[in-house]
């Protein structure tokens, strides 16, 4: 072998992939030995939060779309599942897919409005539009208005409780793993290249023929689709809802943002770290939701100022290991692998530029 080639893998990231694969298999097989569901049921929330955090990370960390309106796609997912399964008798699990599709379709007109705004005003704009959806749900007879709506046993079909728990768990696992995979795949695709050039220099990217609007829109729709499906799974997990909770900015955006920020926005591993920290705070530190918001909110605000790449960024500074192979590096004779003990030289880094 004499030529140079561009690669994304090295021993570390191969090991990272192996570890994730093993973890995934263990989580996948969990239902077969966790027979009473005592592990599975609490894990579902962690998993769907990971899916939501990855999708927000994709928007804010890679496409510069800092959305504070993610609750709209969760809510759309929730109400789509309710309508299809409850009102039209569609199979609830098929309806999860439909929930994603409806969210993706609705994300297009949303983008037509929100994409006229930039930065902080984009953030508030998405929040306004999420409010519009919440108010429509609240004021619509068909969707149930201000009443609590429940996914009844009849519409859940003939599935037994145990089967339902297992399927919900596996779906949440699929959404979490899939969200992470989507971020990795998007970053490795042409779209990821376009996003990176936009982030580095929006005008320059435009000059090079990168369609800034189209790249951002693609990410927006992908994120809406996955967030909508996640919303539907959230309803499967917790079958009673009302407009206030389905479209809750606190639960479906604030907490998600905190998780992503604390873990590390702009990297694929950061949200995983963030969700682990969230789980720790929830299990061991604080029961009251208010205090959880106060603790996580303060940490997130402090991190945004002092460590914008999150806990994962801090860890990486100490131990420069990359878990998912998204960076491209030149390897070949004379270039060699990473210097022993030193970090690999990235040709293009998936994370934020170091600060």
């Amino acid at each position: 072998m004499t030529g140079h080639r561009v690669t994304r893998s090295d021993r570390q990231s191969t090991a990272g992939l192996a570890v994730s694969a093993v973890l995934l298999v263990v989580l996948f097989l969990l239902p077969w030995w966790d027979s009473d569901g005592s592990l599975r049921v609490p894990l579902v929330a962690i998993l769907y939060y990971l899916a939501l955090a990855q999708m927000w990370n994709l928007l804010a960390g890679f496409a510069g779309l800092v959305s504070i309106g993610q609750q709209m796609f969760v809510g759309i997912g929730v109400y789509t599942l309710l309508s299809f399964a409850e009102d039209f008798g569609v199979d609830p699990y098929l309806s999860v897919l439909l929930a994603g599709l409806v969210a993706a379709i609705l994300s297009l007109p949303v983008a037509a409005f929100a994409f006229r705004l930039r930065g902080g005003y984009f953030a508030i704009g998405t929040w306004v539009i999420a409010e519009v959806f919440r108010l429509i749900a609240l004021e619509s007879d068909f969707l149930g208005g201000a009443n609590v709506r429940t996914l009844t046993r009849e519409s859940l079909g003939g599935y037994s409780l145990d089967t339902r728990n297992t399927v919900t768990y596996l779906m949440a696992l699929g959404l979490a793993a899939g969200a992470t995979a989507i971020v990795v795949l998007v970053l490795r695709s042409r779209l990821g290249l376009a996003l990176r050039s936009i982030r580095d220099n929006q005008e320059g990217a435009r000059g090079l023929g990168v369609s800034v609007g189209r790249a951002k829109l693609a990410v927006w729709v992908i994120s809406a689709f996955w967030t909508g499906m996640t919303g539907a799974v959230i309803l499967l997990h917790n079958p009673s809802t009302r407009a206030e909770s389905a479209f809750s900015v606190l639960r479906w955006t604030a907490l998600v943002v905190f998780i992503a920020i604390i873990g590390g926005v702009g990297s694929t591993t950061g949200p995983i770290v963030g969700v682990a920290i969230y789980w720790f705070v929830r299990e061991f530190l604080e029961d009251a939701e208010e205090w959880r918001f106060i603790i996580l909110g303060l940490i997130a605000a402090a991190m945004a100022i002092m460590a914008p790449r999150g806990v994962y960024g801090l860890l990486q500074k100490r131990w420069p290991v990359q878990f998912f192979p998204v960076r491209r590096r030149l390897v070949g004779p004379g270039v060699g692998g990473p210097a022993p003990g030193g970090p690999a030289q990235p040709v293009a880094d998936a994370g934020h530029p170091p600060v």
Partner: protein, 292 residues
């Protein structure tokens, strides 16, 4: 006649929205800073007024003498101690810090004051009004709110156009590095601007509390209304902010005329839709100088 009354009441409500929007507009104009905790700070101001009035037995109007300086100092300190570190070409840090702050304020208020609704009692003036016709009467409180809003915006406009401080604000807004060459300490100026923004939002919060009952989680709605007023009026235009607030107020009261399911008025929904229509058809706002 009902509709005419709705429009008149909407203009009065619009005064409150304009008052909320003032600080947001100023912070964005001077330093391109978007404070997502803006609405929560207004509610915080209202709760501080609750504590001050009950502890000292003051009229809520008089409590402004304490609430406004407290909030002004808080804004100044927060900008110097935290927000200034987030000012960069990347909007992410400032969004995250202010969003996080807003959520923290909401939950601290929940823990401190419980989720109960509160109100600020200013006495009999609350129910007194000026009768224009049989069907139209203007309440004193909404009228005072509108007058205060016009006064605050007018004072802001005068300050920006006529005083050395306003000149420095405009210079920094144009070009911070060159402003520094003039001896302007831009970071300190940002803190002054944020102090003023907090002072105006505290006034807005207290007037909100006098006008209607409020709870710890009411901040985000106020942020959204303020933001809509700013965008409808046009970024960078002080009088545009007033026009935006008034239009939004009318949208709310006229929208509230539509009875929808379960007796909910659709004022806020109509308000949001008016904002979206303006955003789609005139993104630079009605009186705006440039799109952002």
């Amino acid at each position: 006649m009902e509709w005419l009354n709705a429009i008149v009441q909407g203009i009065m409500l619009g005064g409150l929205f304009a008052l909320f929007a003032t600080g947001l507009s100023l912070a964005f104009g001077v330093m391109r800073f978007v404070n997502l905790a803006h609405g929560d700070l207004a509610i915080l101001g209202a709760f501080v007024a609750v504590s001050v009035t009950s502890a000292l037995g003051l009229n809520p109007f008089v409590s402004l003498v304490i609430v406004v300086p407290v909030m002004l100092a808080t804004g100044y300190a927060l900008q110097l101690g935290a927000f200034n570190f987030t000012i960069s070409a990347d909007p992410l840090p400032s969004i995250l810090v202010t969003f996080g702050l807003g959520i923290v304020i909401q939950n601290v208020l929940l823990e401190t004051y419980s989720a109960d609704s509160r109100g600020l009692d200013v006495g009999s003036i609350e129910i007194e009004s000026i009768r224009i016709t049989d069907a139209i009467a203007i309440g004193w409180i909404p009228l005072i709110t509108l007058i205060v809003a016009v006064a605050v915006l007018g004072a802001l406009q005068l300050m920006l156009s006529r005083t050395p401080l306003g000149r420095a604000f405009r210079a920094v807004s144009d070009d911070p590095p060159t402003a520094r060459l003039m001896g302007i300490n831009d970071r300190n100026l940002y803190a002054v601007a944020m102090g003023i923004a907090f002072a105006t939002v505290a006034v807005a919060g207290v007037f909100l509390g006098i006008r209607q009952s409020f709870g710890p989680l009411d901040g985000p709605a106020q942020l959204l209304y303020a933001f809509e007023a700013v965008v409808i009026g046009g970024l960078g235009s002080v009088w545009g902010t007033l026009v935006g607030g008034l239009l939004l107020g009318v949208a709310h009261t006229v929208g509230g005329q539509f009875e929808v399911a379960y007796g909910y008025g659709s004022g806020p929904l109509v308000g949001h839709l008016v904002f979206l229509v303006v955003l789609a058809t005139k993104p630079s706002g009605l009186l705006g100088r440039r799109a952002e």
